[in-house]
């Protein structure tokens, strides 16, 4: 006759099951613990590395420029075209050397150029009425192919600093 007892309490069934392990002690269960100190050390090292090497382009700013062929807006015929200020940059043998010209005027530095451009600006709002060029006069920067990008941006910066609003690079 088959046994009606559940398998755990069935002596026959028990005889075929593998022997159960018994806890060595009857006290509270031992909580396993892991020593995390070395892992935390490594994680902090990683964190410090990534924090130090992170760069967020925080110190970079922009100057808005019109592109050479960008000012294709048709000028109306009923008004005179505005006087163009042409800045000519000529590179020398020394990479740091650059000749800055505006027509017949030659400048020793971009700071000098900026001061002169500011002086030449016609601005009745601040009482500067002897200037020749309104602030929206086109300023065109012309440079030879061996001029360094640093100098082009510096000339651009000088015109922007002198509060001209329409600054662009020459087409040729």
């Amino acid at each position: 006759m088959p046994s009606t007892l559940p398998p755990e309490t069935d002596p026959e069934h028990h005889a075929h099951a593998p022997p159960r392990r018994r806890r060595a002690s009857r006290g509270p269960a031992h909580v396993g613990s892991l020593n995390l100190t070395s892992m935390i050390d490594v994680i902090f090292q990683l964190l410090i590395y990534f924090v130090v090497t992170a760069s967020f382009m925080v110190n970079e700013g922009v100057l808005a420029a019109k592109l050479p062929q960008g000012s294709a807006a048709a000028s109306t015929d009923d008004e005179l075209p505005p006087e163009v200020i042409t800045l000519k940059l000529t590179s020398g043998d020394d990479p740091a050397e650059i000749a800055i010209e505006r027509g017949a005027f030659v400048y020793a530095s971009f700071a000098e150029l900026e001061a002169d451009l500011d002086r030449q600006r016609y601005d009745p709002d601040i009482g500067q009425i002897d200037g020749l060029y309104p602030a929206d006069s086109p300023v065109v920067i012309q440079a030879d192919g061996k001029a360094r990008w640093q100098h082009l941006v510096a000339a651009f910066n000088a015109a922007v600093g002198a509060q001209y609003t329409n600054v662009r690079f020459s087409e040729n």
Binding site: G61, V62, R148
Partner: protein, 163 residues
Amino acid sequence: MGSSVTARGPVTPSMNITPLIDVVFLLIIFFMLVNNIVSDESVEMVLPDLEPPHTRELGEVNRVVVNVAPKPFTAQGRADFPLEHAGQARFVKVGTGAGSEFAVEDTQGITAALAAMREANPDLQVLLRADAALFYDQVRPVMGAVTAAGIQTVNLVAYLPEQ
């Protein structure tokens, strides 16, 4: 007398550091991701250093960065003499991701990439990051390529004034 001795023996102090580890892991993941994104967008170079800079921050706009990377520098002391360089560009990188690098001569590829981006995003702003030492004849074709994509203004990237 030792006060930490109880009837069951000395007490070992312990701290639950699980939340600390959670936070530190999150920080690590954050910095790893941000580092990757930023370094992918801005190629290493020396930007034009202006005296005094009139640059401004662009703010939150839809932007694409066009990098004109210089050839590696052979001369020492780049920080002291940033213009001591052959002036040649190595590659042009438009935006990020795979296929964003172009040869300097490949103006058609640059134009096509920018035109596609502009198609998806009409008020796209282009940032032109070029090394200070590059010759103008290396940067000019890139500006021409940007113009050919129908973009009329470009933002020249230089250092900001120091606070």
